[in-house]
Symmetry: C2
Subunit: 226 residues, 2 copies
Amino acid sequence: MTETLPTGTQTAQSADTLELLGLVAQLELVAFARLASDAALAPTLAQRLELTRFAATSVERRDRVLARVAELGGDPEAVLGSFAHVLDDFDARTAPSTWWERLLTAYVGYGVADDFCRHAATSLDEQSRVLVLDVLGDVGHTDLAVAELDVARADDEVLVSRLALWGRRLVGEALGVVQNLLATRPGLARLAAAADGAQGGDGTARLFGELTAQHTRRMGRLGLTA
Amino acid sequence: MTETLPTGTQTAQSADTLELLGLVAQLELVAFARLASDAALAPTLAQRLELTRFAATSVERRDRVLARVAELGGDPEAVLGSFAHVLDDFDARTAPSTWWERLLTAYVGYGVADDFCRHAATSLDEQSRVLVLDVLGDVGHTDLAVAELDVARADDEVLVSRLALWGRRLVGEALGVVQNLLATRPGLARLAAAADGAQGGDGTARLFGELTAQHTRRMGRLGLTA
């Protein structure tokens, strides 16, 4: 038996889906710009080439998300454009001053935003959910960051402590971005709350615990204390 | 009957091929950086998205060239890296001050370098030649530049004359890059001379006539006087 939702409900749900897809597309667009800058500053040619490949992947991923927006009847540019400044504050507050800080900002800071999207995506229709989870999969940043941090660790214990501190600052700012999104985007708040409920949580209580746990795990993979 | 070249000749030819492939790969790497900057500065979101797509294409094209380098027994990073600064002077002398100048720099300035590579590629083995000609195909810049210049023309005749002047400056600087390459890279000079010879020319006499003609045609497509 096929469940038929009232038309109003379907529309509201679809609007919420478009909101999340817009955020994911914007994160990929921002990722492109950041990866392109990282590539320009990479200390070795091998890293530079690799970072341009990640940038290219972010374009392809963004366009897959925008194609889904169009399939659902949304306007890709409007949906993406509504999140144009979502990371402006975060970027302004966390301008990295070294190559290591850049890597960590990309891996840790943006990781939190990705985790939030993955969490909220559990409330989407299956096709959109699979797409978001696939698009937000790791593009190889982990390997690059882990390899670089290994070099740092062998070299300079003070640098490692400073990066651990940097990571704590990043996660604070990134959680602030998520709080701001929940406060200003009712569609995202509904998806996040529904995802929390589906996983046995209440409101978005479970969400922040999950984001913090993911962050700790991520820092751990880099050998840094969260 | 299969013609067998002395081993020394084969090696020299292969070294020349690697030199040209390295230049093409470097031009694509530089194109990525430029397209990424253009994307960041694009006046509309639609243009920004399109420019990131061109940037992604340049990554894929560069990697196809580097794969061919590896097939021919070359070291991709060394071959590419030997051209690391090939456009530094050109970029420093032609820093665009407006969005229109940026577009023209990309389309006209880099177009000359691409034309040079296409010319020299006629002397390569078939697989490398086909690859280079395919990789240096237009990625849609023409359409973007033509559309933008149409807007400029409707708007501002003074701007159009200034851009025509800018185009003349660009081609002068770009031909300087080619002359420098011919003077400092014997492999490229040999390929260019062989291509000239194959087309009934003498030395590289035909090359500069061809580059200038292509430039004039390109400016004409934009409605600008070369």
